[in-house]
């Protein structure tokens, strides 16, 4: 038996792709890669996907400024609504700016800022590395189905910072070109980081006369339990999770219209993900089109899962996936999945994938509304 549909009542996204959905739509359609070198920290020439309209006040945390910008666009919530906040490092710039004194609780600072804006709501912070966005969404879906709240607001947010960039450089994960990232490409050599914030307002009610903008059918999470940073290159655990999640939605693989992959543009992430998809779709003729939004936004860490859903809803409205940004020549085996042109969706359903450090996997299926 499939679980109750979780309806999406409202969605917002801010990223390098655009300050709003209309701007992002143009960026995706053009396959644009709006990466620039940040000036708010010593980025050493590494390009990032920055939220161009974000202008923190002097001394203000960039994370808090981005959060406020997102919150200003959201509807009011009641005391029977709950909030699920996804972040990996929170207001990490507060640590960077802290010359002395006690270490700031960077994720707590962000959580407190959400509480100040919605003082009547319970707020749960969910951290599952780069799978945090979808993990928080899955927690919100469970809470709604469990009758814990009337509506659930999911927020995914992370910023570009010297802290994170220096860390990813140290791991050899950042593109050696420093300027471009090419998910699923034969010449991919790493990721570019991005910042972003996304929000989804969810509920079990179908929204009355106005309807809703989409629905979440099923979500699943698992752990490779193999290596703290490296994915399972054979993709077995991710493939098993996708199959399980499809089953929970009562769907077969051929009933997916398209896939938004995690697609960081690193050698190993993309290889693992393509291997998983090959396992799930083995023996099937045509595969649904695959896209990574990180070619346009950069890797936005905990925000990416929420952004994938928000932008995915817009792709569903348009009935097509935009071109894969940064793609020159698909990696071996990726030819049947990705393309440098927009492609029609087979049906109004998308699979969205996240993976994260620790071997964390997340799969989620969303459905569009006409």
């Amino acid at each position: 038996m499939t679980a109750a549909l979780v309806h999406i009542h409202h969605a917002e996204a801010i990223s390098a792709a655009g300050d709003d959905l209309a701007a992002a739509r143009a960026t995706f359609a053009a396959g644009a890669q709006p990466f620039v070198v940040p000036t708010h920290f010593a980025a050493r020439g590494v390009h990032h996907g920055l939220c161009a309209a974000l202008q923190p006040s002097p001394g203000e945390s960039r994370a808090i400024a981005l959060l406020k910008r997102l919150l200003s666009r959201l509807p009011a919530l009641g005391d029977d609504d709950a909030i699920y906040l996804a972040t990996t490092v929170g207001a990490i710039d507060c640590l960077e700016q802290n010359a002395s004194g006690p270490t700031p609780d960077c994720i707590g600072i962000l959580l407190d800022a959400v509480l100040r804006h919605f003082p009547r709501c319970s707020v749960t912070l969910v951290a599952a590395a780069c799978a945090s966005g979808q993990s928080a969404t899955a927690a919100a879906m469970r809470a709604l189905r469990g009758g814990r709240c009337r509506r659930a607001l999911v927020i995914g947010i992370d910023i570009c910072s010297e802290f994170v960039t220096s860390g990813f450089v140290s791991l050899g994960a950042v593109s050696r070109t420093l300027t471009v990232t090419r998910p699923y490409d034969a010449q991919r050599d790493g990721l570019l980081l991005g910042e972003g914030a996304g929000a989804l307002l969810l509920g079990l009610d179908a929204g009355g006369a106005g309807g809703t903008i989409g629905a979440l059918l099923a979500a699943g999470e698992s752990c490779d339990a193999a290596h703290i940073t490296a994915p399972n290159l054979a993709g077995e655990q991710l493939a098993a999770l996708i199959t399980q999640t499809l089953g929970r939605a009562g769907l077969r693989p051929e009933q997916l219209g398209g896939i938004i992959g995690h697609g960081t543009g690193t050698i190993h992430n993309d290889q693992s993900e393509l291997a998983a998809l090959d396992l799930v779709f083995a023996g099937q003729g045509a595969c649904p089109p695959l896209l990574s939004i990180k070619g346009n936004t950069g890797h936005t860490l905990a925000a990416t899962g929420v952004l994938q859903i928000v932008y995915g809803l817009d792709f569903l409205r348009q009935g097509q996936l935009p071109p894969q940004a940064g793609l020159l020549q698909p990696a071996a085996g990726a030819e049947r999945w990705v393309a440098a042109q927009a492609r029609p969706l087979r049906c109004p359903r998308l699979l969205s994938l996240n993976v994260g450090f620790g071997g964390l996997n997340s799969a989620l299926i969303l459905e569009g509304r006409a």
């Binding site: 010593a42 707590g108 599952a128 945090s132 927690a139 860390g167 140290s170 699943g220 752990c223 339990a225």
Partner: protein
């Protein structure tokens, strides 16, 4: 229902059912566990040497909590990290190291633990737990954690048990809960839950 658990510090591990272990540091606790392999469930401790104490507490605590259960199987086990001190100490350690090394690049061994989910992920790797794994922060009331437990169990029939982990800089508490009814007693942290459960077990 709580089926097993452990509260451990850098010198002592008190199990819910089994005997208390005393040691001088987590390196010695690891040696104790490895030397008495027939008394503990097997665990992958490959990352132990380069891990920080919070990760080590999670890894060894997971082995002790699993060993405390009468019969152990990793199948269908989810792991939730809850509250504790999150990633604040690891953030400071990475940032200090990065600054002291001239801001050229960070060091991966310090960067990876800056995510609050890393200790529980390392624990999952240690015991090969492939269920959902994440870190959550809620108000310090176990009834809030109970809601997540109940929702996870009711959402996914393949989950047979959930390991809970509250990890601090120098101590941790890990509890195993199965599907049987029996809510967590209402406390502010898992350590208080552990001691109440231990008291309830004492004849």
């Amino acid at each position: 229902m709580i089926t097993a658990g452990v509260c451990l510090t850098l010198q002592q591990a008190v199990c819910l059912r089994r005997e208390t272990l005393a040691y001088d540091g987590l390196g010695e606790l690891k040696k104790l566990i490895v030397a008495a392999a027939d008394r503990f469930v097997p665990g992958d401790l490959e990352d132990f040497r380069r891990a920080c104490d919070m990760v080590r507490l999670a890894q060894l605590g997971a082995i002790l909590a699993a060993s405390d259960r009468r019969t152990w199987s990793p199948a269908g086990t989810a792991l939730i990290g809850w509250n504790g001190c999150g990633c604040t100490p690891a953030n400071q350690a990475y940032w200090d190291d990065y600054q002291q090394h001239g801001r050229e690049t960070g060091r991966g061994m310090f960067f990876v633990p800056t995510l609050p989910s890393i200790p529980v992920c390392e624990a999952a790797i240690t015991l090969h737990l492939q269920g959902p794994v994440c870190y959550i922060r809620t108000p310090p009331q176990t009834r809030k954690l109970q809601e997540h437990l109940d929702d996870l169990f009711s959402d996914d029939a393949t989950i047979r048990q959930i390991m809970l982990a509250e990890i601090h800089v120098d101590h941790a508490c890990l509890l195993l809960c199965d599907r049987q009814p029996g809510p967590l007693p209402d406390h502010n942290d898992l350590t208080a839950v552990f001691w109440q459960a231990k008291k309830d077990l004492t004849p």
